[in-house]
Homo-oligomer: 456 residues x 2
Amino acid sequence: MRNPLLVPDLRELLRDGEDVALREFLTDHHPAHVAEMVEDLGPNEGDSLLRLLALRVRAEVLGYLDTDHQVRTVERMNPTDAAALLHLMSHDERADLVNRLDEERVDSILPHLAQAERDDIRKLASYEPGTAGAVMTTDYVTLPPNLTVREALERIRHEALDRETIYYCYVVDSARRLIGFVSLKSLILARPMARIEDIMQRDVIFARVDEDQEAVARQIGKYDLLAIPVVDADDKLLGIITHDDVLDILRQEQTEDILAFSGVSRDAEADEVPYWQSSIPAVVRRRLPWLLMLLLAENLTYPVLEYFDWVRKQNEALGFFIALLIGTGGNAGSQTVGTIIRGISLGEIVGRDSLRVLFRECAVGLLLGLMLGTIGLMYAHLWRHQPWALSSVVGLTILCICIWANTIGALVPLLARRAGIDPAVISAPFISTLVDATGLVIYFTIAIIILIKLPH
Amino acid sequence: MRNPLLVPDLRELLRDGEDVALREFLTDHHPAHVAEMVEDLGPNEGDSLLRLLALRVRAEVLGYLDTDHQVRTVERMNPTDAAALLHLMSHDERADLVNRLDEERVDSILPHLAQAERDDIRKLASYEPGTAGAVMTTDYVTLPPNLTVREALERIRHEALDRETIYYCYVVDSARRLIGFVSLKSLILARPMARIEDIMQRDVIFARVDEDQEAVARQIGKYDLLAIPVVDADDKLLGIITHDDVLDILRQEQTEDILAFSGVSRDAEADEVPYWQSSIPAVVRRRLPWLLMLLLAENLTYPVLEYFDWVRKQNEALGFFIALLIGTGGNAGSQTVGTIIRGISLGEIVGRDSLRVLFRECAVGLLLGLMLGTIGLMYAHLWRHQPWALSSVVGLTILCICIWANTIGALVPLLARRAGIDPAVISAPFISTLVDATGLVIYFTIAIIILIKLPH
């Protein structure tokens, strides 16, 4: 959608002061596209373009700029203008923005806002990152239960301009406790003289303010909601989280899964800290536990290599294949564990499937092993000029290791789930490490059978 | 939210034929919660509970059952009842459901539906999986441009019950070409006598019917849309994709990233095939290319081990640490690549950051290496009773390998991005494999420096 060809034209119009033509052009475009133009134009001309827009549109465009641009644009404004824009922005976006401005700037802007808005910004900025409170917004519609549908629609029309959404309205009692919910659709379908309390849905899906944002996102997804209300311990309504915030939360969650799979310890709080904001010691603290555990597990390879050293001594070339063989095992196991974790998390693999899964992954391992084993055999014989006997040890080991790695790669996440552990914490390095020592045992055992004269 | 304590009570009420009390109880609950009760009750009693509900509510509850339950519930119904339910379900959900029923069942149900509905189901079921067409729905509101706002609201009220969403309405010309868009919010705010064509937004964000579902999901997320219209090559409106479908698409995408990271080749089409539906040969075809490539890369370890064999021969114990050392390198590299891929995909690491990232990851590697290296040194000396000289070779190698693995783990995804390759295809096994051969070179080089008398 981004059209860089526009930029020279916009520059020319700006230089020639063609404000009328520019305004007309801009109103024809989606605020998100105007935001792209502002980003492409750079600070000076971008600011000029923004100034051409009505204040309300400007606030909307600002919301579509990426965070860096938002901060820098507001930093270039005088405090009164900045306050006027903040006044019109959606409440969660403006709280995030204020959170990112430096304190001096905030102190110069906030006095230009009404007390209630200052309190709202401070309040929203004060919730623990990663909780429902930190992502919710406060610009929503509430209705008292005794209103008629006609009165409710009138009120919604009146408030619509300043609300993030008017499609879900929340019914609260005199103490602001959440007691029901009506959608705009149900209001439009109801008789105008019906009372809200008679048509509202009483079984409201809600979130607690200190609940984890991911749990809330999952609720919204599960119930196909446009928004979910957020309440405190006394059921008082504090805010709502809208469907578009869910996507941001899920994007975070998604990358957390990759992180866990790569062998970095899970840490709900640390996972929400952006890359550049986590200190190096904090990063080390998160990575060390798994590395240490894996190092201890890798220690098993020492006694295995030591124990079988007499085998290697009878045929020195055996030693040259070690890294290749356990590497291949680790790679095959990593693929399988990735496949199984995906299947479990999509709900495609359920409890009763365990045996079928194991059988299937063994079969895949067998086929992969046959192909890779043949290649390994030919490689050892033709390229490395090893005799057929040793080459077949290599080929057979690849076959067995592939089957074994696929079994481990399937078994471990299945067992983890059975034990009530989230399979997504099983990392690729964990499976590789498990396969390393056992793979060596397989290798030397096959070597003994095919190659070696046992000492008598 | 799930409350298993309800089940015995529900059973008793069902057995006693307390239909009035049950109906009252059920209308107080969210359809999603009723769906959970139906699932918990099992087939017979679940069906009885469903039958107590008004047909429209029953259709809604059915939509909240998981896919397996949906299919089995419909299979137990007589064709007329099933058709009546399908008639009321949202169009995309019913197309998915029909796709999962066996053909015989479909042939018995469809004749009970109107021709237009049969065509709609067949049409929606015919789009390629993974495209916008396959996830869109057809129950949306269209408006002609010459309507007044008052007339439009009247029409929306009239159609609301049978539409998945009424909050976004699409303006089409006489040839059904998409020419604009109005939100219900803008209709409510507009003067009743204004014409739709005067208030509609002409810069509509849309998707093509054959576009990849993930690209569409990203558009919805980027522009914070409730729904996106789907058009054919002639701009004719074919359907809409709503915000709740985005979450399902993203869940798929998320697990695809895990799969790629585990070393299974990306394949846009195959990624959408559920675990049990992909044939074993198809699975093997997807896993083989990476395994083969990695096997070839692992071959590099052979000449390294062969070349440095004279070093190992001077101190046999050197060989016992090989698997441990390259394993640790692979693990550290895997953590780093996971961290960097996450940072890039969240937009936290941008192009100009590359050098800072490298520096930071080296520093992390240095700290991790110092700690793990000390542990390795003590382990070799105290547990494996190796002399201090060889133990320091082990400790120093761990230190150097950690720094090196972290550098590689950061460098490779950064270079991939610079080369225009999606960094998310860089897998943990790929990094481990890269570190294997180079790690061995580091090990033996340190051994030579500290331990070995060079042959003269």
